[in-house]
Symmetry: C2
Subunit: 292 residues, 2 copies
Amino acid sequence: MQLIDGKLISAQIKQEIAQEVLAMKANGETAPHLVAILVGHDGGSETYVASKITDCQEVGFQSSLIRYEDDVTEEELLGTIDRLNRDASITGFIVQLPLPKHIDEQRIIEAIDPNKDVDGFHPINMGRTLIGLPSLVSATPAGILELLKRYKIETSGKHCVVIGRSNIVGKPVAGLMMQKNYPGDATVTVCHSRSKNIAEICRQADILIAAIGQPEFVKADMVKPGAVVIDVGTTRVPSTLTKSGWKLTGDVKFDEVAPKCSFITPVPGGVGPMTRVELLKNTLLAAKMRIN
Amino acid sequence: MQLIDGKLISAQIKQEIAQEVLAMKANGETAPHLVAILVGHDGGSETYVASKITDCQEVGFQSSLIRYEDDVTEEELLGTIDRLNRDASITGFIVQLPLPKHIDEQRIIEAIDPNKDVDGFHPINMGRTLIGLPSLVSATPAGILELLKRYKIETSGKHCVVIGRSNIVGKPVAGLMMQKNYPGDATVTVCHSRSKNIAEICRQADILIAAIGQPEFVKADMVKPGAVVIDVGTTRVPSTLTKSGWKLTGDVKFDEVAPKCSFITPVPGGVGPMTRVELLKNTLLAAKMRIN
């Protein structure tokens, strides 16, 4: 069994990005500029946005944070998005989700210029991903494919089973894994809460991607010997062993599943750091699209 | 075994559409107006476009045909698309594919206003379909779901296997069948030319959708007893039994597969007529979106 080290790979990619930024600057170009819009004071959102800003600093990107209180109107947000869309000095931007209930998230997402949509949530980016066209791919699916690539895991003709059909992970990763491409060219099955015989289907997987958000859902008897297991789950479960009182738990019962696998991602340190770094990669890609 | 009669269902839907058009006119609204753009003189394309125009007449739509010779430039086509996008009297339009090689099909598709994209090929419509948002769904996948609905075939928790990963059938129908919806909520597997053990995977299907474009690819030993089989294939194979010298052949070896099925679509007379009528439904939907 080999551990897929997302922390190591993401650090390598950060270095690669930092070098590209240095080259851009040496070439007289400005560094990519990522803007994050944060509404309200949700603890998780605060942490995510802060880490995104730190990541930008580490690779030499410019970054800005625009904050709104919980009572911001949809019109105000749309106005800001319109301004960012038209501002040539902004490479890409994200609106940290979730948003307060009085704001229509989908309307906000679709207002973002698809060329600046570095979260890859705009339907046109989802559609272009599914069709197999160049696109800004949302960070978690992109990170999963990057891990498969960096570990040279064969995917062509393999059976990839995805547990979970979310719009930000399950559906796009399924779309990517079936493209005529590497990583891809896999037979792809998507199962979810309504699926019958889910264990039986999982046992067929050469590559199992668990993105259902249920801690330790995947047990040893659901995994074929030699399978590649990618764990997207990151649920905080109470723990007496940590200072914070909780620990991050994946969708895979790691201790019993890991010995059966050829490759497996840990939680934390697997897909999580990749999601962070893929936002930087998308921003760099958006900068290149802007130039071409 | 029950035969799924696409010809009958499509005739019913045509009547429903014709009644809606009458009601619109009685209400002082103009009838939907579909425009087809046809480039060159390909026999298949001529036939398809002519039947689309006839269909429009039968349900009371306005229709127009814009013809170009094979040497039309991409810029000319884009100019026409821009004009149709801005013309409020046009409900929707299609550009009949394939286009001559010197024209970038994807650029043409993406130039169409998504609200007038009644073929549903624009990435934003593909993306919205995948996300589960209201969209113009391309005609063949929409027709397949309509058949499942009209025959009250249960889909929730069933295993739906799609053979073929094309952008106009395999991928969108897979996306639709996994939505939290009826028809949908199925476990979905997409297999294709690179898949291993394709027969074994097909044998698991409660609902088997064959869209691989290989005549009689699906044999009896690939089908589970009681399965629902949807045959999207329409290949012309030489025949001494017909006046034309060819006959339309599906992806399923009908004679040996049919006795094992609970439901099956014939070729011709199954999915084909549904594809035609779904273009009309999309045009009606585009007209309603225009009003709202």
